[in-house]
């Protein structure tokens, strides 16, 4: 096992910088998700770490060794591809055995290791099958077994679950996480599914246009996004624009919104704040009582979407639509057109310069 350090890695394709001085430390044994919109450079970074491509500048260090000039077959990494990339003319067992056999391991050792890897992914009995005789989830397991049987220093996964349907994907998330814990391998996981990143990883790095815009634990990034982009990309957020004033934000309609005390934008400058929809309470205007410490906005329900355990309200207030997520816990439901007051704590309000 090993940690991976990427330091100031830059890679351009023509005039376009796919990676721009990206520095990340992937901790030993951790599960790190690289998250970002399409074209943000996730695959490019993963391929640099794997050794399929080389950085223009910067360094890549695996377990203390500089590897940026080491070819892929000497890096001792394991990789799982989006479309599995199983060898079609080999059985499942031969696919898994491939990495050991090119290293010249003894036949008996290979057989034992292959069986152990197949058991780990719960495919112990399917060794004789051909890849085309397997389901999507089973193929993914074979690809995983094949990647870990050689005991690589790092496991790299490029959107490994995106070809699976929703239910299977959730199963595989659990399974992948279990296997990762069991063998304790440093794992770098590329996805553009935010939910997947939140539920599976210990750390998340958000890439945008080839730059790392924020990193941290899922809770840190979700609770304290560093930019409007991070707030809306990871999870849902209401963005309220205004001007910075005191410890908060003055909205266009004159309301003062108090925010968590963090790094404050310059007074009087354009700024905005983000509030998560589930952090806002929605109350009928008639019963709402004023509470000086909380932020509140008056509005009118424009739309309600019922989804079983939760309802989503879209409320028109202060010249914009605010989204509110409410647990359906037996409280009286509000209808469209009702006057309401929205209330949330300054602690749930994150301020950014804009």
């Amino acid at each position: 096992m090993a940690d991976v350090r990427v330091e100031k890695v830059t890679r351009s394709f023509g005039a376009h910088k796919a990676l721009d001085e990206v520095s990340i430390v992937f901790p030993d044994g951790g599960f790190y998700a690289l998250l970002g919109p399409s074209g943000s450079g996730k695959t490019t970074l993963l391929r640099m770490i794997a050794g399929f491509d080389y950085p223009d500048s910067g360094s890549i260090v695996i377990d203390g060794d500089s590897v940026e000039r080491v070819p892929v077959d000497k890096r001792r990494i394991g990789m799982v591809f989006q479309n599995y990339a199983l060898f079609p003319n080999m059985s499942v067992a031969d696919n898994v055995a491939f990495g050991l056999s090119v290293r010249g391991e003894a036949k008996a050792t290979i057989a034992v290791e292959v069986q152990r890897a197949l058991d780990l992914v719960q495919l112990g009995k399917l060794g004789e099958r051909r890849p085309h005789q397997l389901s999507g989830g089973q193929r993914q397991r074979v690809a995983l077994a094949r990647a870990i049987v050689t005991r690589p220093r790092v496991l790299l996964l490029d959107e490994p679950l995106s070809a699976l349907d929703k239910a299977l994907r959730v199963d595989m998330q659990v399974e992948l996480k279990r296997i990762q814990r069991e063998i304790g391998i440093t794992t770098i996981f590329v996805t553009h599914d935010q939910e997947e990143a939140l539920t599976m990883s210990d750390r998340i790095g958000i890439l945008r246009d080839g730059r790392l815009v924020q990193e941290g634990s899922p809770e840190e990034i979700y609770d304290s996004p560093a930019s409007e982009f991070a707030a809306t990309f990871l999870g849902d957020a209401n963005i309220l624009p205004g001007t910075a004033e005191g410890n908060g934000l003055r909205l266009a309609d004159g309301t003062l919104v108090a925010a968590r005390s963090t790094v404050l934008p310059a007074q009087g400058r354009a700024a905005s704040c983000a509030v998560r929809p589930e952090r806002i309470a929605i109350l009928p205007a008639a019963v709402a009582m004023l509470d000086g410490k909380e932020n509140s906005l008056a509005g009118c329900v424009a739309k309600r979407i019922f989804a079983g355990s939760v309802s989503t309200y879209f409320v028109d207030c202060a010249g914009q639509t605010v989204k509110v997520l409410v647990q359906n816990a037996g409280q009286p439901r509000l209808g469209e057109g009702d006057d309401v007051v929205l209330r949330w704590s300054p602690e749930s309000t994150v301020l950014f310069a804009s």
Partner: protein, 263 residues
């Protein structure tokens, strides 16, 4: 409805029958005549193996036959090796002028052999290669190469490059990837390319004719020369042997490699 289908089916059968007759009847007649006593195709048919024993003592025809077989085998091996390697390189690497290079492969297939042959003769003469079996071999390799590259490249189009990457990530060197992943996948294409190369060389008359010298000729050239002097029934005999052997080869290959069919 059914009656038209039946009619179409009948017509189809007749068509296939005619096709096979046109293709194979001349060959069958030639094979039969190689066992007929009359040297002038005269009937009634009278069984003999005289022409085969004559052939066995016709040193010139036998030598040309061996020349043809040797040249065809060497040209096939060389052009298949070179062509497969070139196809894999074209598939793997991107470089300046790659499209142009690929486009350059096609004209030699379309240019009449008469012109290619003349050009080769002049060129070989100019650079001191001259004429003879070595020149014929060189010419055949050059003629066969584009066929191999085109056929193998077509097969490579069905190959997923991620498979090579996956193999590399598992610790395989370039060479191991080629031998264990890429080659097995493109093998049907390589075999088909080799068959093409063999056919181009073994059937080659025009280019061989230009590059041969008396005593250093391939079978088609020798047959042509012999016919010009007067028909010899041994030619039926040697042709029959060649047809039986090459059809046997084709059938064996087709049986071992089900083209396209198998996954």
């Amino acid at each position: 409805m059914t009656s038209t289908t039946r009619l179409l089916e009948g017509l189809g059968r007749i068509y296939v029958g005619l096709l096979l007759a046109f293709l194979y009847l001349p060959i069958v007649i030639m094979a039969l005549m190689s066992f007929n006593a009359s040297p002038f195709y005269q009937l009634p048919f009278e069984w003999t193996t005289k022409w085969y024993s004559d052939l066995a003592s016709n040193a010139q025809l036998l030598a040309a036959t061996w020349n043809s077989i040797e040249i065809a085998i060497i040209a096939t091996v060389l052009s298949t090796l070179l062509g497969t390697a070139a196809s894999i390189a074209l598939f793997r690497y991107d470089f300046r002028g790659k499209r142009f290079l690929q486009a350059l492969l096609l004209p030699p297939i379309a240019i009449p052999w008469l012109i290619t042959g003349t050009a080769m003769l002049i060129f070989f003469f100019g650079v001191g290669i001259g004429r003879g079996l070595h020149a014929i071999l060189l010419g055949h390799v050059a003629l066969a190469l584009p066929y191999v590259i085109v056929v193998v490249s077509a097969r490579l189009q069905t190959f997923a490059p991620e498979l090579e990457e996956a193999a590399r990530s598992l610790g395989a060197s370039q060479w191991q990837v080629t031998m264990r992943i890429t080659l097995p996948w493109i093998m049907p294409g390589v075999i088909a390319g080799a068959l093409f190369a063999f056919a181009v060389s073994f059937d080659q008359f025009v280019v061989s004719y230009f590059l041969s010298t008396p005593g250093q000729a391939t079978l088609p050239v020798e047959i042509y020369a012999a016919i010009r002097k007067g028909f010899m029934p041994e030619i039926n005999a040697v042709s029959t042997i060649i047809i039986v052997v090459s059809m046997g080869l084709m059938l064996v290959t087709a049986r071992f490699f089900k083209f396209g069919g198998e996954k």
